[in-house]
């Protein structure tokens, strides 16, 4: 067990535990905090996978962006609010059965596949290369994605507008 392994297991444990808090907590704010730590854990795993740029973007976009979800939770769980925000859970049993099935299939799949290639993991900066890829091979998807974002933002502003 070397340093890399220990860090991996630490981040994995953090991620799974926080994901558990997210899904099973009765309090929306604690769910949001769980998501915060789960996504930070995933960012740590990205670093272990030598994806430095993705890791930072994960923190910048996701972890920073959860704030809005958190605020929703905060506003909904204010003391004065007397509305049903549906904090409960339903059909836990059937869900567990379905999910266990999915998990078994996934795990069997992963274990049965021969992972022949083993990466030669040399750590090198990825920022520049990803930028070049985005502007050359993936230029059209990139532009479409930006149009999608713009459309989503305009749509969101229109739907949420008060009138």
């Amino acid at each position: 067990m070397n340093f890399y392994d220990i860090v991996f297991y630490l981040f994995a444990a953090l991620t799974i535990a926080s994901a558990g808090v997210l899904v099973f907590s009765r309090n929306v704010v604690y769910s949001a905090v769980g998501l915060l730590f789960a996504l930070s854990g995933v960012a740590g795993l990205y670093v272990l996978l030598a994806a430095d740029f993705v890791a930072i973007v994960q923190i910048l976009i996701y972890v920073g962006g959860i704030l809005v979800l958190l605020l929703f939770g905060v506003m909904l769980s204010q003391k004065g609010m007397r509305v049903d925000i549906g904090t409960g859970a339903k059909q836990l049993g059937p869900a567990m059965i379905v999910v266990a099935g999915v998990l078994v299939v996934l795990f069997r799949m992963i274990m049965k596949t021969p992972w022949a290639l083993q990466s030669v993991s040399e750590f090198e900066p990825t920022t520049n290369k990803i930028g070049v890829l985005m502007m050359t091979d993936y230029l059209i998807p990139f532009e479409i994605a930006s149009v999608l974002l713009l459309g989503a933002l305009v749509g969101a502003a229109f739907i949420a507008r008060k009138d």
């Binding site: 899904v23 789960a38 993705v54 973007v57 869900a95 998990l103 996934l106 974002l149 739907i159």
Partner: protein, 101 residues
């Protein structure tokens, strides 16, 4: 690299299923959003671990597109929740039966 790629895939699988549990069982629209984010992140983790495994950056580029779609989804989704909350005063998805006539 000492931890084999399959461990990352196991982790991704576990995270994904936790997210599925959240979507299936929770009744609060905000928590459902968070669970969807978790599922998307599990997929991203898988993409990045494959990108590392195959020594190619394509997987990481895909991660960005997934992030863009996730952002768009959350923006529109939260706007819908706000709109429904204004009219029905709830974020319990069991009460969201506007299309059930």
């Amino acid at each position: 690299m000492i931890v084999p790629t399959s461990y990352y895939l196991f982790l991704g699988g576990i995270l994904f299923t936790i997210g599925v549990v959240g979507v299936l069982t929770r009744r609060n629209a905000i928590v459902i959003f968070m669970s969807i984010e978790l599922m998307l992140n599990a997929v991203n983790l898988t993409l990045v671990s494959f990108s590392n495994h195959l020594n190619s950056l394509e997987g990481q580029v895909f991660v960005f597109f997934v992030m863009v779609v996730a952002a768009a989804e959350v923006a529109v989704g939260l706007a819908l929740v706000v709109a429904i909350f204004r009219t029905k005063n709830t974020v319990n998805v069991d009460e969201f039966n506007l299309l059930k006539w």
